[in-house]
């Protein structure tokens, strides 16, 4: 079974995003970019399925600027066999919407025919949490979102999902889409020899036109602003002073 893993190049999760003064977006010039943390977990799960002999090939896909090729090299250094880059923009500030991404991924899936797709649950830049579900809808496949445990038994998938208040077990028939939650696994670090090997793995470049997909945004971003800041607080010296302040603020 072939496993397809979509990965996204996003601002590094340790970097505090700075909003541009003119309200046009977040400043991404000279900012460290990395693979979306949830996508690392998705790649790790796919590679583990390959190590168990369940997956025969792991294909990583990324959509965005040319530099997303670096993100795909990281996925290949972790163990993906090959990669596809769909180059849709020259500007890192252009975020392609989940609906357009899902349509492009559907094009890739129609061509590649994977038995399973593992995506991250959300990207930490647009915080949408939508692409996996939208892709499942377009393909008419079942979806197992927010997965914290995955077992493949023949053509059946058993997934434990994180829901509000606890966990939920579901089963589904393949092909299907899984979106990875934080606790699915601990992603491995790419070793130096594997990083070198990844440079020789195949990386195919495509464009949106190759898949006949219109990527015009449905949501126009009118403005991007900083959230209302909190007024500076004070430090108190003792528990008694703290309790007095909380009573004065009428929250106790």
């Amino acid at each position: 079974m072939k496993v397809l893993v979509p990965v996204k190049r996003v601002i590094d999760y340790n970097v505090k995003a700075r909003v541009k003064a003119d309200g046009t977006g977040v400043d991404l010039t000279n900012v460290k970019m990395s693979m979306n943390p949830f996508d690392e977990i998705a790649v790790e799960e796919a590679v583990r399925l390959k190590e168990k002999g369940i997956a025969t090939e792991v294909v990583a896909v990324s959509i965005g600027v040319k530099q997303a090729g670096d993100t795909l090299r990281t996925a290949m250094a972790m163990g993906a066999d090959r990669a596809i880059l769909i180059n849709v923009s020259d500007d890192a500030g252009t975020d392609i919407e989940p609906l357009a991404v899902a349509k492009l991924l559907k094009g890739v899936i129609d061509a590649e025919q994977p038995g399973l797709v593992i995506a991250g649950k959300q990207a930490i830049d647009n915080d949408m949490n939508a692409t996996g579900q939208m892709l499942a809808a377009l393909l008419g496949w079942g979806q197992a979102t927010f997965a914290s445990k995955v077992d493949v038994e023949g053509d059946t998938l058993r997934v434990t999902r994180e829901i509000d208040g606890g966990l939920q077990d579901i089963t589904m028939t393949l092909p299907a889409i899984i979106t990875a939650d934080l606790r699915l696994n601990e992603p491995r670090y790419a070793s130096l020899p594997n990083i070198m090997k990844a440079k020789k793995k195949p990386l195919e470049e495509k464009t949106a036109a190759d898949y006949g997909v219109d990527i015009t945004p449905r949501l126009t971003v009118m403005k991007t602003v900083e959230p209302a800041g909190r007024t500076a607080g004070i430090k108190v010296a003792s528990v008694d002073e703290l309790l007095a302040k909380l009573k004065a603020a009428e929250v106790l």
Partner: protein, 304 residues
Amino acid sequence: MAVLLLAESNANGLNRDATARAITAASTLGEVTVLVPGAGAAEVAGISGVSRVLTAEGDGVAHGLAEPLAALIIGMAADYSHIVAPSTAMAKNVLPRVAALLDVMVIPDVIAIIDADTFERPVYAGNAVQTVKSADATKVLTVRTAGFAAAADGNTAPVSPAPEAADPALSAWVADHIADTDRPDLTSARIVVSGGRGIGSEENFALVANLADKMGAAVGASRAAVDAGFAPNDWQVGQTGKVVAPDLYIALGISGAIQHLAGMKDSKVIVAINQDEDAPIFQVADFGLVGDLFTIVPDLTSKV
């Protein structure tokens, strides 16, 4: 304009608070019809601002499975300009699927409704707020409940069954494992007491729980505390956990990483107790107390 609202309800019960908050948001858009996929139709009918309640049955629907619920909503979608739900794990599972089937974008985690097609939502872990205008025929959105007050009772809306829809049978529910608790629900609690890595161990988390119980508060945790196994993952407050906005948020041994702040910085009053006086949490805290939480917290618990 007419709004279809998906109630936060399943076979285990209704989340009245999340549903009532979403109803407040949806009422500003038009007449609200609420689809109740599990228990609590009568209770929903009593909430102000609801004009009609539709109930649905079936194992898949009542356990929040995306495929049958999306099929059900799609069958009714033509009558509505907006499809809305509180942004819970269930709605985040279902609504993007609904949106894609309608060939429209989903607008997740709306914090303010400007007009029928313009919305505000946080991005980059809450470090920026975007105003987006939708060009789609049907607006599919989830609302961040912490930003809206819960609608009151005092209504008697009619209840009837939703139109039948075929289950695509792509997945099957096996079991739910829900944590039993008498404490208030984390997302709607008036006071939240949270512990972080500084708590040190699962046993020490009793310190956090004792203070919470004394205050009638919900217990939260940072991702570091959850990853270290000190607390269960449904206690996690943050970008990847729950977003809360209580009157009082008490952070114990939490440094204040970006991902945690995204989940709690809209709280009315924030208190931080930490031994590192340079911890970033003090930059958002209204009241900070620098010191050893193992002496401060028991003292606080006894004096509350």
